[in-house]
Every structure is written in structure tokens, then in C-alpha cells.
């Protein structure tokens, strides 16, 4: 089964990190990604740029609006993701536990309903 791991953290706090701190966290992410690849789970995974680069698009009554920023302002922002192929929910939760953000932010695990590619 495919699961998406949505990685939440406080991006203003992350922006204040020193280069060393940032490198340490990145290395943990690289190690995690390496493990996921070695176990044949990795389908996708990357970091998202800061929410100030986000555009939110809505179309209502035929009128298109594009606003800057994410859909909702929250204390923690979506900062990255993985898509992994796991045996079952237990394995997915076990992987989620290993993502560094589980310690200082939060990791949301969502099963993916896969549609056949047409």
C-alpha cells in the first residue's frame, strides 16, 4: 500500500537555525531516505520551499483568484513529504516514527487511494 507522509514543522523556527543545525537535520533526512530506498519503499520524497512561495488558486463562479500563501495560516506548516510503499499501516507508522519531524514537528500519515494511470 502507498502512504503519504506529510511533514509539518515551524518554518520560522527552522529559518533561525544555524548552518550546522540545518546540516545535521538534513543528514538525518538523507539517512531516512536511504533506508527507505534500500528497503524498496521509496516512491517520492522532497522538501517544500517556504510557504511564502506558495500560491493558492481558487475558482468561484467562473472567477479565478490567486492568493499568495498557503490555504490556511497555521502554527506548523507543511514543509516536505515522502510517498512510500509499505506493507501495511503498522509498517507505515513505524517509518513515520523515524522521520526527524516526528520529534520536533509532526508527521501525518495518509493512506493513498491509487488510481490506475491512464
Amino acid at each position: 500500500m502507498q502512504y503519504m507522509f506529510l511533514i509539518y514543522g515551524d518554518e520560522t523556527a527552522e529559518a533561525r537555525q544555524s548552518a550546522d543545525e540545518r546540516a545535521a537535520v538534513l543528514n538525518e533526512y538523507f539517512a531516512f531516505a536511504r533506508e527507505a530506498r534500500q528497503r524498496g519503499m521509496m516512491l517520492a520524497g522532497d522538501e517544500l520551499q517556504a510557504t511564502r512561495h506558495a500560491k493558492t488558486v481558487r475558482k468561484r463562479d467562473g472567477k479565478l483568484t490567486v492568493t499568495t500563501g498557503p490555504f490556511a495560516e497555521t502554527r506548523e506548516q507543511l514543509g516536505g513529504f515522502f510517498v512510500l510503499d509499505c506493507q501495511d499501516l503498522d509498517e507505515a507508522l513505524d517509518m513515520a516514527r523515524k522521520i526527524p519531524a516526528a520529534r520536533h514537528g509532526a508527521v501525518e500519515v495518509r493512506p493513498i487511494t491509487t488510481y490506475e494511470r491512464r
Binding site: Y3, D88, L89, A92, L93
Partner: protein, 412 residues
Amino acid sequence: MQGLAQAIERIFYDESGRILAALIADLRDFELAQDVLQDAFAVALVRWAEGIPRNPAGWLYVTARRKALDRLRRDSKHSHDPDLLDALASADTVSADELDSIPDERLKLMFTCCHPALAREVQIALTLNTIGGLSVPEAARAFLTEPATMAQRLVRAKRKIRDAGIPYDVPPLKALPERLETLQAVIYLIFNEGYGATHGEALIREELCIEAIRLGRILADLMPGAESLGLLALLLLHHSRRRARVREGRLVLLEAQDRALWDKAEIADGIALLDRALELRQSGPYQIQAAIASLHAQAPDSASTDWAQISALYGALYRHLPSPVVALNRAVAIAEAFGCETGLTRLEALGEDAFMQRYYLYHAARADLLRRSARYTDALAAYQRALDLCQNAVETSFLAGRITEVKAIIQG
């Protein structure tokens, strides 16, 4: 025909959990497994008029699998796992008479129903409806919800198991202790809902207790760990008092119960299970509570109960479950063992806790000790405080009775 329907009902009650568990293992789909099991019972109702097969459960299992194969082949909207269809088709050549036994997958079913990704009330409902023998309307009645609400809760849960990929398996060793605790807690809650609830119909409450005992027995048979044995012992020892607990619609306290009404066979069964648990030398809260219940069960009356031992056991229980309720029970046992004054001193110390001050049983216990020490004015105030805080109709009437008694003594 009447006899056949009854026989089938009996077989459903005894065997459906086991057949369903095996079907889910084959089909990996709760809804489909329950549907085809229903189909199989419908066929049985017609075919068995000529005679009940030698191995009814095996017959039902084989028939249900055949029904599943039919359904999956007919359903062209979805593409189905070819391996599953092959497996079902090749299994289809085995007749019920050739089948030695249905594989016992009930542990997998129990652990899946009690997966931590499901909310507690969902775990309970699903356990009762699959491994247990409660239909949707029965489960709804037991939890005072509409059948439609209960049905929807169960359908959602079954879809969640499928869509979120909740595994159908016994958890790996490192996760086992925690998962086992959840399973035990669910069984214990089902029992308490039946035993302690002050609402609902008496009949369905009794059914819940019996279901919990049945589930506890399955767990203790398939995975006989110390706490699972202890849990089953505890349920049996509590259940043994059921006939003495209520008199004319009123709750009878342990010390006032007619012990001749206690179920001797259940007590013996419970004590034997507890002995088996204790031999494993892994202490735990269910075993300790069962040990307390067994001391009550073995005492000919309240006065000759081994209260010193009980107070020590409550002390041990408090280390596992440091709750105000356990602390209170311990103080009451101390009062029985070492006198009201010692008990009252202990209670005064507990009373510094804000929770205790709002807890009616604290005031009721204190009132009782004050009354027995002939400090009637203090007792009256404490009973009044307990009454003000109490929300339970049966207990309220009990407290009101005590207040009348104490007032009569003061004025007397």
C-alpha cells in the same frame, strides 16, 4: 423446522467467530467475509432440513468460500487479485468432509479489531460484532445507540481497516505487550459495560458480561499469558456474584450479599485460572484484582475476610494503577483490617487531594467509617456531601437511606 432454526442459531453463536476469522484471512475483506458467511447460513437453513452435516462449521466455511468466489467472479466492476481467485478456486475442490479443521485465525481478528488506529468505541463494537456473537441491533442496544448509527460505525471501521491497510495479523514481538494490553482493556470494558452500567436493559447487560468472558477465554486459550489468565479469572470471580448483587432492583454491597447465591463453579474456575497465572510469575493489575476478588470469594462472610492481605494487594495494585479509586479501596481495606480509626486517618490524608473532595465514593466511605465509630454528626455531614455529589440513581437511594438511619440515631 423450529428445531433446525434453533440449531443453526446455536452453531452461529458458537462457530461464527472462528469461521469469520478464517474467511477474513482468506479474503482480506471484512465486509465480504461477513456477507458470504450470511449467505452460507441462508443456504444452510434450506439444505440442512435434510440433515445437519457431520462437520457443520467446516460445511459453512467451505460454502462461504464458494459464495465468495461466485461474488468476486460476478463483480466485473472491480478487478480482483488473480492470486486470491486462484486460491479460492483451488480450495473449492475440498469438500467439508475432507476439511480437517478450520484454521484458527481468531487472534489475528482480535488484534485487528483492537488496532490502535481505531477509536476505543470502534474497537469495542467491532470486537463484539465479529469475534463475539452480537448482531448490529444487539450491539446498538448494548451501547444505547440507534442500529443505523451502529451499522454505520461498523461499516466505516471495516472500510478503514481495508483502506488504511491495517494489518490482519498478530503484532510482532516488540509491539505485542502494548497491543495485548489494548485487547485486554477492550474485553474488560465490555465486561464493565455489562456489569457496572446503570442504564440499558438487564438482559443485554448480562449478554455483554457473557460475551466478555467468552472473549477472555478465547484469548486465554490462544495466548495464555499471566495477565490474560488473570483477566479471565477476574471476570469469572466478579461474575460469580451476579445473582447476589441486586435485590429488588437495588444494589447490594459486598458485605451484605447472600453468599449462598454466589456461583461456586465460576469461583472454582476463576481461582484455578488465577493459580495458573501466578505460576508464571509476571505480576500485573488484572492478577492482583483477581487475587483480591478470590479472597472475597473464599471468605464465608465479610468479617472473616482476610482484609490485611487485601489491603496489601491494593497497595501492590496502586503501584500499577496509581488512581484515586485504588487508593480509596486500599483505605477501606485498611479500616476493615486494622480498625476504623486507622482507616479514617488514611482517608483524611487522601482527602487533601482535590479530586477526592469531589468524589462521592470518598465521602461515602468516610461517612461509613464515621458512622461505625459512632461519630454520627460528622457521619451525617459526610453522607450529605456524598449525596450532593452522587449522580447515580441506585447509589443515591442507598445514601438517602443511610441519612435517614443516622438522623434517627441522632434524634433517638
